[in-house]
């Protein structure tokens, strides 16, 4: 890796870390004795305070608005049940002073006037540390929990997101300057909404909460290029893949009329750290085996085959028959959703036969290894290579165990990065926008104040 160092296009670029707490997928190990409560406030407090001790930019909470299912029943093998994101982040704001607070919030099943107000409230209470990870949903399955039901067409999901974001920005820009200021109503109308509201929340110390986005489809990338300030990508482990993604995002960002570096790239990444390469590899193998339990192996297989395969022998061969579904479904939040089930099944069977793998061995081999494995120094070098080559701006770390999962990174990797001049040694700003090195938001960049009435573009 050192042979590339002299031609890094960004030789001074700094590594930024966020922590993603907590995926509802099999990557979170709950079975180990060191795995704490997934719900107690103390677990969250420990993780966020460790991250802040490690000078992380942000602490990030996920949220899904319906519990995942397998074959029509609630999925029972992975961590499930989380606190409400904005509520929990507000509590965590009180036990931290610098770290950013990112809430995943859905644009299809929230009301813009209400959500913009709650985000602005978090931003005000935290002194300008709030961010919003914008997610879209269109399916009626999630809509069954809400007044409007499955009201939005799939094709309209980013149109809704754009109109929603513009409404939120109008609320944030139109907020009162002080108790005596009584602002006019802001109005935004478009194809998915027509909202008119008098904002009550004050202007933010960081102008707007920072906008995160994670969609990976072409429409999702275009949305990010236009509106987002941080992209929570899935392209962070393979350098060529990450570079290609970054190039694509920069092209789209410029096409949207923004400087290429307006949008920071923080892929979701796991880390396994060992004091020697051998120790790290052994630990990584142990982590994989803990993540892909026999039951989880059969469940992940059943997701591709579209049926309950829980009675199969996880140490036996793959099913001989073809999947009963054409495409992988929505209800598990699978990274493979909407992909052709038959193609994946054929690939998996071919690999299992060629390499003599059981079901569980195959699933472990196919489980996407998103992340870095190695000694603290080696991982630090690799991260610097990603960041200084322009592939990423750091990463959003998904610990595989809580609350202890960040300890090695903060105690061992961060000092290695600092000694190489690639990581801050103290917070230099107070807001999340300052930590990330972001410009003022697009809608506030012109000299004039925005008009009170906006017609969504």
């Amino acid at each position: 890796m050192t042979d590339r160092q002299y031609d890094f296009p960004r030789p001074d670029a700094q590594v930024h870390f966020g922590v993603f707490f907590q995926g509802v997928n099999h990557h979170t190990i709950w079975s180990d004795p060191a795995s704490g409560s997934q719900l107690d406030f103390e677990t969250f407090r420990q993780v966020i305070q460790t991250a802040e001790r490690g000078l992380f930019d942000a602490f990030f909470l996920g949220e899904g608005l319906r519990l995942r299912e397998s074959h029509g029943r609630i999925h029972d093998l992975d961590v499930v049940g989380r606190p409400d994101a904005i509520t929990q982040l507000a509590a965590l704001a009180a036990v931290t002073s610098r770290i950013g607070l990112v809430a995943t919030q859905n644009v299809t099943y929230n009301d813009p006037a209400d959500l913009a107000r709650r985000l602005a409230s978090l931003d005000a209470l935290s002194g300008g540390r709030a961010a919003w990870n914008i997610v879209t949903t269109d399916n009626a399955w999630t809509g069954a929990n809400f007044r409007r039901g499955g009201w939005l067409d799939h094709e309209q999901r980013y149109e809704r997101a754009a109109e929603f974001v513009q409404t939120a920005q109008a609320v944030w820009d139109g907020g009162p300057q002080g108790p005596a200021d009584r602002p006019e109503a802001v109005r935004v109308s478009g194809s998915t909404l027509d909202v008119s509201v008098v904002p009550t929340t004050p202007r933010s110390p960081q102008q707007h909460p920072v906008l995160f986005q994670a969609g990976d489809s072409p429409a999702g990338r275009d949305f990010a290029a236009r509106y987002a300030e941080v992209i929570f990508s899935a392209h962070g482990s393979d350098l060529d893949d990450a570079l290609a993604f970054a190039q694509d995002i920069r092209t789209r960002t410029i096409a949207a009329g923004r400087p290429a570096d307006d949008l920071k790239i923080l892929p979701g990444t796991g880390f396994v750290i060992g004091d020697t390469p051998k120790e790290a590899e052994e630990k990584a193998r142990w982590v994989k085996e803990q993540q892909v339990t026999p039951a989880t192996a059969l469940s992940l297989l059943g997701q591709v085959w579209g049926e309950d395969l829980s009675t199969y022998d996880p140490d036996g061969p793959l099913p001989a028959h073809d999947p009963v579904i054409d495409t992988i479904g929505e209800t598990r939040g699978s990274p493979r959703r909407r992909q052709a089930a038959g193609d994946i099944a054929r690939q998996w069977r071919a690999r299992a036969e060629a390499e003599h793998l059981s079901i569980r061995q195959l699933v472990i081999a196919e489980d996407r290894s998103r992340g870095f494995v190695g000694t603290p120094a080696a991982v630090a070098e690799r991260l610097i290579e990603f960041v200084r080559s322009g592939a990423t701006d750091g990463c959003n770390i998904s610990p595989w165990i809580v609350p202890s999962g960040l300890d090695d990174i903060v105690d061992k990797v961060v000092p290695e990065l600092q000694s190489r001049g690639a990581y801050r040694t103290e917070y230099t700003g107070t807001t999340l926008r300052e930590h990330l090195g972001l410009r003022p938001p697009v809608t506030r960049r012109d000299a004039g104040e925005p008009a009170a009435a906006v017609v969504a573009r």
């Binding site: 608005l65 509520t87 009180a94 009301d111 409230s121 929990n145 009201w151 009162p176 039951a295």
Partner: protein
């Protein structure tokens, strides 16, 4: 349900409960735009021995009073880690927040406070809500029906996880026992078919039914249910755990006609200060803005102590609404509550106790659990 001790709650929103308070104390109004104001107010209330605080709120600005206000649940959560005994009771209006989100937010607050969350059920029309939310918002008789339905579905969502649903069974690889999670399959009252996607176009004045599938995305919280507070007449009998009743200056210690719930007397308070009598202060405030709530108690700290002593055994508690927060609250904390503590007229909440424990309310049985209460 009233005992020989009187619980004291304090409303801590903004610069005070009187709509002109922010003009008397602009610094407090400004502090309320960040975290400093609410943090200082709940610290004073907890240190003074109050049982709970309420936090007023509205999606849209009120007709009178300051234009600025942060979301009440977010404020309550922000002070959760800096308090340990105090109940935190934000106002949330049932017609302006999605019921599913409302259950998650208050369930989350109960987790973050280790069981000290309450819900003050908002009532009455919210001006401008229809245009802000881009859908019809129930008013009048429809609002009463809507409120009853929202409380019902929120309680069902709070019960949709049994207390022991997380089993972490390494032998079978199951994190939860899914048989201990339950769909709520709630359908509200209303006219016609469930509006669903057509909700935006439902005409004003028509209450279209809504449905919620469940289960909640938040596991059952330490109290089972956050303590539900509601003003008398805004919810059906039995729907609230605590009913707030209005103060009648002509019969200040008359027992309220409420059955089946704890009763808390809403008591606006304006106190004498060294600089001005309570009556003068009240007149000055009313000259700046009229307060529809009524004057409540206007007088000395000593007279307030006597009034509160007289309310023991009559109501479960009082909710003090300080006219001007940082004028009246310090007097309540310094001169009123200690006098009541001395003769054990008010309880002292224990650190770590839930709000239900402190108020002497039982933990609700789970609607879905086969064996009823799991405790």
């Amino acid at each position: 349900m009233p005992t020989d001790q009187l619980h004291v709650g304090i409303e801590v929103d903004g610069a005070g409960a009187h709509p002109a308070a922010w003009r008397i104390d602009p610094d407090a109004a400004r502090d309320a735009l960040g975290g400093a104001g609410i943090r200082r107010a709940v610290a004073a209330a907890e240190n003074g021995g109050a049982t709970f605080v309420t936090i007023d709120d509205s999606l849209t600005p009120p007709a009178t009073g300051p234009a600025t206000r942060l979301d009440a649940v977010v404020r309550a959560a922000f002070v959760a880690p800096t308090t340990s005994r105090l109940g935190l009771v934000p106002l949330v209006h049932p017609a302006t927040v999605e019921p599913f989100h409302l259950a998650s937010q208050l369930g989350g607050l109960d987790h973050a406070t280790a069981g000290r969350a309450g819900w003050l059920v908002g009532a009455g029309p919210v001006p401008g809500a229809r245009r802000a939310l881009d859908r019809p918002v129930a008013e009048g008789a429809d609002l009463l029906a809507e409120t009853a339905d929202v409380i019902e579905v929120v309680r069902a969502l709070w019960d949709s996880w049994e207390d022991d649903a997380v089993i972490r069974d390494t032998a079978t690889g199951r994190y939860i026992d899914r048989d201990r999670l339950h769909a709520v399959d709630f359908v509200s009252g209303g006219t016609g078919a469930t509006a669903g996607p057509a909700l935006r176009t439902v005409p004003d004045g028509v209450r279209a039914p809504f449905s919620v599938k469940g289960p909640s995305i938040v596991p059952r919280s330490p109290q089972g249910h956050a303590v539900v507070f509601a003003r008398e007449g805004t919810v059906p009998a039995g729907a609230a755990d605590v009913v707030l009743v209005g103060f009648n200056a002509d019969r200040p210690t008359a027992a309220p006609d409420v059955t089946g719930a704890a009763t808390v007397l809403d008591l606006p308070v304006t106190l004498d200060t060294p600089a001005a009598t309570a009556a003068q202060r009240r007149a000055d405030l009313d000259g700046l803005a009229s307060d529809g709530a009524g004057a409540g108690f206007v007088g000395s700290a000593g007279d307030l102590v006597e009034l509160l002593r007289g309310l023991r055994g009559v109501v479960t508690g009082v909710r003090i609404l300080p006219s001007v927060l940082w004028t009246d609250l310090p007097i309540v904390v310094r001169d009123v509550l200690p006098a009541l503590r001395v003769d054990r007229a008010v309880p002292i909440p224990r650190p770590g106790a839930t709000l239900r424990d402190t108020l002497g309310l039982g933990r609700p049985a789970n609607l879905f659990a086969a064996s009823g209460s799991t405790r």
